[in-house]
Symmetry: C2
Subunit: 351 residues, 2 copies
């Protein structure tokens, strides 16, 4: 016969899944034996073990991990939570998030964990706790702390296994991994000053801790060079290309002598370049642009984008590592600040 026949001989609709009892019956042994054989227990004779394993494979049987979890209490699912701004769900669009998710997916797969991806309203972080309380996941990795430092502290106080990608803040009871945002902002300031720029603007919402730190570093760096950044040279924009573009138009009109833009994400920086181009400003000749994150596309942008690199890959591995430590009852470092480098490309450099 060339065509294999459905083992249940059923009509395609109602196929009951194989389960351990079925295999046990087929092998003529008890479920205990099957369970032990499939988990490779030495208690079962090598011969029986192989026979059962083969049988299971033939019938496409895989142990039901839901039942296993229930019985053994071990969960191998980690929730990765990506908050979005209430109102617009759009924040998922930032390529930085994708890089982060990819690197977390890698790190989790490597350690044998599954990844439950969950988008949550940034204002309803209690849903995060429910992911753990309901047993759906063993722990949570949250990307960005947004405006909810206190809520996160409360969750940590409840002992929820939680690690956060974000800024290190004072009075912080939860674990964070993040870049050195202050230093990042400072590096950009120094670079732009060295390029002879004097009239800068900052794109980013300082309501978010990471952005606030970048801003602080930037302002401090400028001040050290004898330059002030008046409030009207800053615009609080969400991480959305269109918002960045609009904000940029406003700033161009407001500050005619504008010669440099520091955007707190590469996405915003790209949008800024677009807006400048529409207003016939040359990048970098007229206006230098620096972004943040160093997403993959930045190197291929036109012109290639100067930016502050966030070590995404390292971050993913660290976040996962720390969460697993928490789950094992160990105490990970309360915060890790990763090294941050400025990558100068053509968008801010005139030879």
């Amino acid at each position: 016969m060339s065509k294999t026949v459905n083992k249940q001989g059923s009509t395609s609709a109602s196929r009951r899944r194989m389960q351990m009892t079925d295999i046990a019956r087929l092998a003529g042994v008890s479920v205990s034996t099957v369970s032990r054989a499939l988990s490779g227990s030495e208690l079962i004779s090598a011969h029986t073990r192989e026979r059962i394993k083969t049988l299971a494979q033939q019938f496409n049987y895989t142990v039901n991990s839901v039942a296993t979890n229930l019985r053994s209490g071990v969960k191998r699912t980690i929730a990765v939570v990506v908050p979005f701004e209430p109102g617009s769900r759009q924040s998922f669009a930032d390529p930085f998030l994708h890089g982060m998710i990819g690197s977390l997916a890698d790190a989790l797969t490597e350690r044998g964990y599954e990844m439950l991806l969950s988008r949550t309203d940034a204002d309803r972080l209690d849903a995060v706790a429910a992911l753990i309380d309901s047993g759906r996941s063993a722990g949570v990795i949250l990307i960005g702390q947004w405006r909810h430092h206190d809520q996160l502290n409360a969750m940590a106080a409840r002992g929820l296994p939680l690690v956060v990608w974000g800024a290190h803040l004072p009075h912080q009871d939860y674990c964070t991994v993040g870049g050195d945002n202050v230093r990042g902002g400072q590096l950009v300031a120094e670079h732009l000053l060295a390029q002879g720029r004097r009239h800068m603007v900052f794109l980013g919402d300082c309501g978010l801790p990471e952005v606030a730190q970048r801003y602080r570093g930037f302002v401090a760096g400028l001040r050290a060079g004898g330059i002030n950044l008046p409030a009207q040279q800053r615009m609080a924009v969400p991480f959305l290309a269109e918002s960045g573009r609009q904000a940029m138009f406003t700033l161009i009109d407001r500050i005619p002598e504008l010669d440099a833009v520091f955007a707190c994400s590469d996405l915003l920086a790209m949008a800024a370049v677009g807006a400048l181009r529409e207003r016939k400003k040359q990048v970098p000749t007229d206006v230098a642009v620096v972004g943040y994150d160093d997403v993959e596309l930045s190197a291929h942008f036109n012109p290639p984008l100067s930016t502050v690199r966030q070590p995404i890959h390292e971050a993913g591995a660290l976040l996962v590592g720390e969460l697993l430590m928490l789950l094992e009852g160990k105490t990970p470092p309360p915060f890790v600040v990763l090294e941050t480098r400025l990558i100068v490309r053509e968008s801010s450099y005139v030879a």
Copy 2:
């Protein structure tokens, strides 16, 4: 007191999770009553029900969905599988995938499902079956069929609830949702011909069904305009920016009279623009570039990128809808081909 105390009064390490028996004891009723009260059953008096719900909230109790699933047999987790090319894990980097994942996340959340995100070696798709067989997820949404049409057919024959984003192929037993790739390629051909372009190149790996269809449409469109596309004007590149860049260099050297590029993804198109720029070719004046997907960034690229729009949002909703139909035992349409539009922007249009 300002600091809240852990309900269990435990040392942070070993906190046993609340469970239904605890709530039952606290309320002085049986677990059955708690179960019914929390699920809002009319069998329980309104008064008791409210009392129990309040209690549960106070103690941060959420029913353990693992146990619920086991007992009720209903699973509310869907696996989304993103294959990567064996060898390089990089294919996750394509922004189109992120858009797709985002839209699936939305559609699933809306319908009350969780999303298990899984990266799998494109050559080991049997892992996909295991996701279902092991009960980790109720069904699978696979992004792209890659080179595994037959394996997918086999899985469908086994009755696995599976829907695929990709091309509609002959002899296909699994459900697909995809764009009209042939038409897409054809639209690009017509557009480029109308722009007076004559020396085109195609970037993309025709080993993948979707790409092959785009290529077919493109070639057909060119032929209708009296132009041939010799094999050496095509390069099989994976969906990676750097590969696109290198391929483009090769093609520029190989075809001096080159005046148009059709890349089978926006990512490749952007990389192509970068390579052209490095070789001092103006886009679109010297060379027109058209991409595929219309990812969010394309509109903000420099120059804004002409591209074929794939209706990602609609696709996500459809994929989820069809999978849920399968799970309910209904029969969804075997394939859906979504309308495909050419978006002309500056990268291929000279006024």
